[in-house]
Amino acid sequence: MDLFFYLGPIILMLLLLGFVTYAILFERKVIGWIQNRPGPNQVGPWGLFQTIADVAKLLLKEDIVPGKADRALFKLAPIIAFVPAFAILAVIPFTESWQFGDFAVGLLYYIAISSITIIGILTGAWASNNKYSLLGGMRSAAQMISYEIPLVLSVVGIVMTTGSLDLNDIVLAQKKVWFIVPQFLAFLIFLIASLAELNRTPFDLPEAESELVAGYHVEYTGFRFAFFMLAEYVYVFAMASLTTCLFLGGWLPLFGLTMIPGILWFLLKFSLVVFSLFWIRATMPRLRVDQLMQFAWKVLLPLSLLNIFLTAIFKEIPVLSSFY
């Protein structure tokens, strides 16, 4: 047990870096297929070493700090953005036994820690002393704070049903039926809000290439830039894991196929979520800033409140209450 306690996080870290490496490749491949092109296929067989080559290139790049930037903050920002991304993975239950921090408030911990990243982004945007990055940073602060609210409220229904904030309990409560069925509205809200939290298309306004060039990380080069990218993809990993746990029954098998180990089930559902994120990216245009805020406050927030209300009512109806 002790050995696992010390080695486990290192294994997870390596797995995660492996995931990020291949998620980037997979994303480029998926988008390539959707766009009738092969995607990266030159570096290694089937482009398998493409990301490794990219990371090597980023490492070799000159580390530029703009002359008028706030040097201390500029260097600190990627770290602030990046550390919470790793910290939140502690509470994700990959299988019954493989979870690093099984606390009673796991869900709350996830949400609280993940909001720290925005401080890193804002710091980086401010410290770069660049107008584009400032605009990108402001956008991203507004966006992440706005969408955090429907994101949190959409999972309240689940918390009401299970009576627990512990992600393990939430997964186990889905033995009968996954929460995607009774909490479908919440699932949609969660999916949309999580896209916005991840700054992905159609909510990629903070780095809107055609408007703000690269948004908040416009002045970052080399490995500092890589840290921002890494944080982004670790969040994809974390958010997909959380969606799997909350709505898709985590490691629980489907159709009673218990001979397939839980970790494979988890991976399968998780990959499905990751794929759909990439799919959406290849299909959608970008929202406009004002529409984005309107959508969060006028559509998603009322809907998530409605969801809480409905869950409360359904809990009292005799036939339905077994699902809630």
Partner: protein, 365 residues
């Protein structure tokens, strides 16, 4: 109340969505634009001045580099003006080949516009689909004249190359394919809610504004003015064929999108009709070895994908023009930009600028 300050943002000349080297000096208050000052000229090569030292045939490749997205139309603008001044007869087959290439080039140009416009709005895939279909057209051109972008295809009095064997057949196949393919574009783009929200009611101007800014092409037609030089100043053999002039209703950028999609359809229709009547025959008229254009001046306008592409030649009887002036539609269309952008936010800047459809090679001449 917090004290706010206007910020000066220099957008371009290197920026992903200024479509080249346009520079916009904008004053913004938060994300709201207060003032825009477009700075042009980063791609100025002095084509008009250079033309004064070139023979008429030598000018043609320079025109390829003006509006490099529809070089065939540019070729035509200069050869058409020269022919008119010289009073030359152009063989029928040559005119038909010119029309096929010009209309295909219009389709290609509009496809570039649709693709890059969606890219500006943040959608990546339509760009690649459009470029794939455009690629077919470029391959056809490549087969016809050996170039994919700068064709140098037309000559005073005809065209340089006849269509190779089976080429017309391939064009017909493409037209049929593209007519079907347009439906898939509508499936992907026209109903997308985010796209509609981004474009509806954006960048509206009135008919009067459009006319007072000398807008032409789709930028004028979108306000409801059915003005198309292919019908109103019938050049080439356009009068033989049936096609409609699509116009817009509200004048917003969504209308521009629909208008340009319809123009693709109309162009395909024209190509189809030309293919039905084209016959074998000579491709060059009787033209002297050295072109000496009689003294005088001429102005001709042709309908390029972007608007009225005019060519004004003043000749003093030598083999080189004394003065040559292009009315470059992108340049004129761009003038309305500062007025349209006042009070909009930066996301709309991209939507409006993209909607005008400028090519910087043409803006800067």
């Amino acid at each position: 109340m917090l004290r706010t300050e206007e910020m000066l943002l220099n957008m371009g000349p290197q920026h992903p969505s200024t479509h080249g080297v346009l520079r916009l000096v904008i004053k913004i208050d938060g994300e709201i634009i207060r003032e825009v000052d477009p700075v042009v000229g980063y791609l100025h090569r002095g084509t008009e001045k250079l033309a004064e030292d070139l023979t008429y045939t030598q000018i043609i490749p320079y025109t390829d580099r003006l509006d490099y997205v529809s070089a065939m139309t540019n070729n035509y603008a200069v050869v058409h003006a020269t022919e008119k001044l010289m009073g030359l007869e152009v063989p029928e087959r040559a005119e038909y080949l010119r029309m096929i290439t010009m209309e295909l080039n219009r389709v290609a140009s509009h496809l570039v516009w649709v693709g890059t416009y969606l890219l500006d709005l943040g959608a990546m895939s339509p760009f690649l689909y459009c470029f794939q279909d455009r690629e077919t057209i470029l391959n056809l051109f490549n087969e016809l004249c050996g170039a994919r972008l700068t064709y140098n295809y037309m000559r005073v009095g005809g065209v340089k190359w006849d269509a190779p064997e089976g080429w017309l057949q391939k064009v017909e196949e493409f037209v049929l394919y593209m007519q079907k393919e347009l439906a898939t574009y509508h499936d992907l783009i026209s109903g997308n809610d985010i796209f509609l929200q981004r474009t509806r009611g954006i960048g509206i101007y009135t008919k009067e504004q459009a006319l007072s800014y000398a807008l032409s092409g789709s930028n004028l037609r979108v306000t409801g003015v059915p003005w198309d030089l292919r019908q109103h100043q019938s050049y080439s053999l356009y009068h033989q064929f049936q096609f409609e002039i699509p116009t817009g209703e509200t004048g917003d950028v969504l209308d521009k999108y629909h208008l340009r999609m319809q123009e693709i359809e109309e162009s395909l229709k024209i190509v189809k009709q030309v293919l039905d009547v084209i016959k074998e025959g000579p491709i060059m008229g009787k033209v002297p070895k050295v072109l000496r254009v009689p003294e005088g001046e001429v102005y001709t306008g042709v309908e390029s994908p972007r608007g009225e592409l005019g060519c004004h030649i003043v000749s003093n009887g030598k083999n080189k023009p004394w003065r040559l002036k292009f009315r470059r539609p992108s340049f004129y269309n761009l003038q309305i930009l500062p007025e349209l952008l006042k009070g909009e936010n930066i996301s709309n800047l991209v939507a409006i600028l993209g909607g005008i459809d400028i090519i910087l090679g043409e803006v800067d001449g």
